[in-house]
Symmetry: C2
Subunit: 513 residues, 2 copies
């Protein structure tokens, strides 16, 4: 498995995302091999308010925007952020406003922050970077839908192959086609679909590079939350959640059947988005239909992360993408909590060594995916110590579930979190995460947890004294032989305590030679 890239010294980037609906300042920090969002200010500025009628930014929205930019400037100055650490980007509303120039010069005068108005192509590129750096998408398509526009990027071998952008955003489509208060009629929806289908003809490449579709943006995230609620899943974020075409269809039908004022009552739908989500969902539905995508994969990363990745990963070549998103996520989270890397790497090594030997002996299927989950749980098992030593196995679970692991599905994150939860004692169970697991996953959890526990027992002195472990299967018993220097009676004695769980996981008695 790869090791963390050698990043030292703190680097920061404040991305000011000046969207049609809201302005958001997000500070990303990278240091000692990790990166994450460390600060955020959100203001629902609604700079696009009234623009449909006039084509211009209105006086009141502009005033709100300038006040907010001034707060952002104060914040950056108070945080010691230099001008080259601030990147303010504007999208659809400001891009299309007839009085854009006037606004930009006022903004620089009032707040001293220069604003980059993104072209549609640039916006699409940032959406692409957000998607490929937060999922395992190699071939397929990225869909990014905002208030003003829709961007689609076809992806081949983790590179952007084709891209296009249309004025098919959720706010715009609502204003144009669904701007009344009652339930939406079939005729209205068909008009949205026909219009979208017509526009998508400019993208004959849609769906040709593969049938995976990754969705970016608030509309996608909110539909994912609604889909999770409907499936009664625990609300642990939507990163990696897959929404089937049927689920989207069901949500469209349900939202359309309600008067606009009631759409916020659908479980999971945000009240602030209730008036425009239907149009966004219908556009997405039409993209799926035209491109032949069976499902939509959600990512929580968006434009802001795209801007960050374009700088943070600049030395990775073009495009700036992680080689392996999954291992990058795990190592990023581990590095944030400063776990002892020698100990952790050795526990992972011993656990994988046991995994491989038991697979070779035919005691389990040796699924490479299961092996990767075991590696992730081993690498992260101790991060909870940052909260408190007592119950640190439970704290590890909390931290893994809270931060998430981009590139892994919610089910895989649950398995990693539960395996780490049981790295000390107790008989593993899915607990509050049961709804996320599939048939057979309890056995995966048992197998991962007991190997992690054995590896931790063998590395009890934290000095890698047990270099490796050999496995011999004889009838109903598995015998571990330790390759070690010095006295290993305590690791041996500790490992023997895992007999009960080992029997349950592998159907054999455990002996330690």
């Amino acid at each position: 498995m790869p090791t963390a890239p050698p990043v030292t010294g703190r680097r920061r980037l404040a991305v000011c995302d000046l969207g049609s609906n809201s302005f958001r300042l997000v500070v990303f920090t990278s240091q000692d091999g990790w990166w994450r969002r460390t600060d955020e200010i959100y203001q629902p500025v609604r700079i696009g308010e009234g623009m449909a009628a006039t084509g211009e930014l209105g006086a009141a929205p502009m005033r709100r925007a300038l006040e907010t930019l001034e707060v952002f400037a104060h914040f950056c100055s108070a945080s010691g952020l230099e001008s080259d650490e601030i990147d303010a980007v504007a999208t659809s509303a400001i891009r299309d406003a007839a009085n854009q120039e006037a606004f930009l010069s006022k903004a620089v005068k009032r707040a001293g922050i220069p604003i980059r108005v993104l072209s549609r192509e640039e916006e699409a590129t940032y959406g692409f970077l957000a998607a490929v750096n937060s999922t395992t998408l190699a071939d397929g398509c990225v869909l990014e839908i905002g208030g003003g526009s829709l961007q689609l990027v076809s992806v081949v071998g983790r590179h952007a192959a084709e891209s296009a952008s249309w004025r098919l955003g959720a706010v715009r489509m609502t204003e144009r086609f669904l701007d009344d208060d009652g339930p939406a009629t079939k005729k209205q929806l068909d008009r949205v679909r026909a219009h979208t289908r017509d526009r998508l003809e400019r993208a004959p490449w849609l769906g040709r590079s593969g049938d995976r579709l990754v969705g970016v943006g608030g509309t996608v995230r909110n539909l994912a939350v609604a889909a999770q609620r409907e499936a009664d899943l625990p609300s642990g974020g939507v990163q990696g959640y897959v929404i089937s075409r049927e689920t989207i269809d069901g949500l469209v039908d349900k939202l359309a059947s309600l008067p606009r004022a009631d759409r916020g009552k659908v479980r999971g739908i945000k009240p602030g988005r209730a008036d425009v989500i239907l149009a966004g969902a219908v556009v997405i539905q039409t993209v799926m239909e035209v491109g032949g995508f069976p499902a939509l994969e959600t990512t929580e990363a968006g434009l802001r992360e795209g801007v960050f990745f374009s700088r943070f990963l600049a030395d990775r070549g073009d495009p700036p993408v992680f080689d392996d998103v999954r291992s990058a996520s795990v190592l990023n989270l581990a590095a944030q909590y400063g776990v002892d890397p020698d100990h952790t790497a050795h526990v992972a090594k011993l656990a994988l060594s046991l995994f491989d030997a038991l697979a070779a002996a035919g005691l389990h299927p040796g699924d490479p995916m299961e092996r990767e989950l075991l590696w992730a749980a081993s690498t992260l098992h101790d991060i909870g110590v940052a909260v408190d030593y007592d119950d640190h196995h439970k704290h590890t679970r909390y931290l893994v579930l809270s931060a998430g692991l981009p590139g892994f599905s919610p089910r895989e994150v649950a398995l990693i979190a539960q395996a780490a939860r049981y790295h000390r004692k107790g008989m593993p169970s899915a607990g509050p995460l049961a709804a996320l697991l599939r048939k057979g996953d309890n056995a995966v959890l048992d197998r991962c947890a007991v190997l992690l526990r054995l590896a931790e027992d063998l590395e009890r002195s934290r000095d890698q004294a047990v270099r490796d472990v050999a496995v011999a299967v004889d009838g109903d018993a598995v015998t571990l032989t330790l390759d070690a220097e010095g006295d290993v009676s305590v690791p041996r004695w500790a490992a023997r305590r895992e007999n009960e769980l080992f029997s349950r996981a592998y159907g054999r008695k455990l002996l330690v030679a």
Copy 2:
């Protein structure tokens, strides 16, 4: 409020606590103004096994002890701990063993770790330091009960005034008086009480310095867990939990009525302690009776923390104690998560300024305890950002509840955690912590949460642009006037959103001038 002491550079101390029942290595780390336990190895060595009969450490227990010491030595060496960063201390079993010398020389030879055998007075002193540095005890008594011995220290003005130690530990008393399998008879218990009472005559000072009694050690902690379960309280640790005399009496009666093998089935009682907990509880009960103590306050700190404090606080004079345990706890937790201290201190300042002005205007009682909780919630409100920016208010609650705040009661910790939980949005409620709160606490929570929110709104630019805030009450309205430089339209606008919660908390409309 005091600020964090200027500690820089990492310091570590590995305390090896070689007790009669278990050996435990705990690593304490202090750095940049915080300290906490960062590592631990536990082995249930039971070095005292069989000693009652022979007066000597047995061959098998000694072998287990030496193996474990070797693991500790490997661990310390792998962690880069120097010999002056390791302090191995032995208590009752090793202190009293006839073959102590032989064991100590074998230990040095095998593991290279010199062992300090603590005198009874030293053991009592460490218990005292653990208690006064983790509670607000100023005048009263510290009770420390282990497997072998009982120590009592009378405390006057946070100094140890008198102390004594007896062979009244839980294991010893069980072996002597309660060593059969059936339920304990009244006669048996009376013999334990009479013996204890007789021994306590050596401490005529017991109870004279005040009626607060703080309990240290595993027996006390386990009784506290059982008391919490019986009261159906959430299991968030026992730090600061107060067990009444009646509750101890009830637990003694319940435990005594059961055969020894069944005592582990009492809710909260650890199976590994079930055979000796009754004797310990009766000794504690007798101390309470003799000293006239109405209740026993629990602390999670023990001998190991005492050893740590004796070094960590050595520059605080004699005895090495925190001036103010409560503020030290809050600042310690805040420092661990590296929140922006200027922002945090300014939010706290603004919140307290509002608190004082509203109290002066007669809009709330102005309770100094409530003021301190507001200060604590303000100081800690952002620590959850260390987990993830999203939902950081919830992560703050998790971190506060997980780490605990020595010096505060579970109820106070719950109020601090819930106030921080609601520092961004939502209408405050006690949520899962309701069982810990008293009548009137929901109003305290509303008042603290809304002032913290207002202070956060006013400090939205994080540059202390709003220097202070003045309050004017006129009829049914409270008007805030900001003392600020530059444009404050956004803070003003943000603060106006708190109207609903402000009305609920203070029964007045909120206006921002």
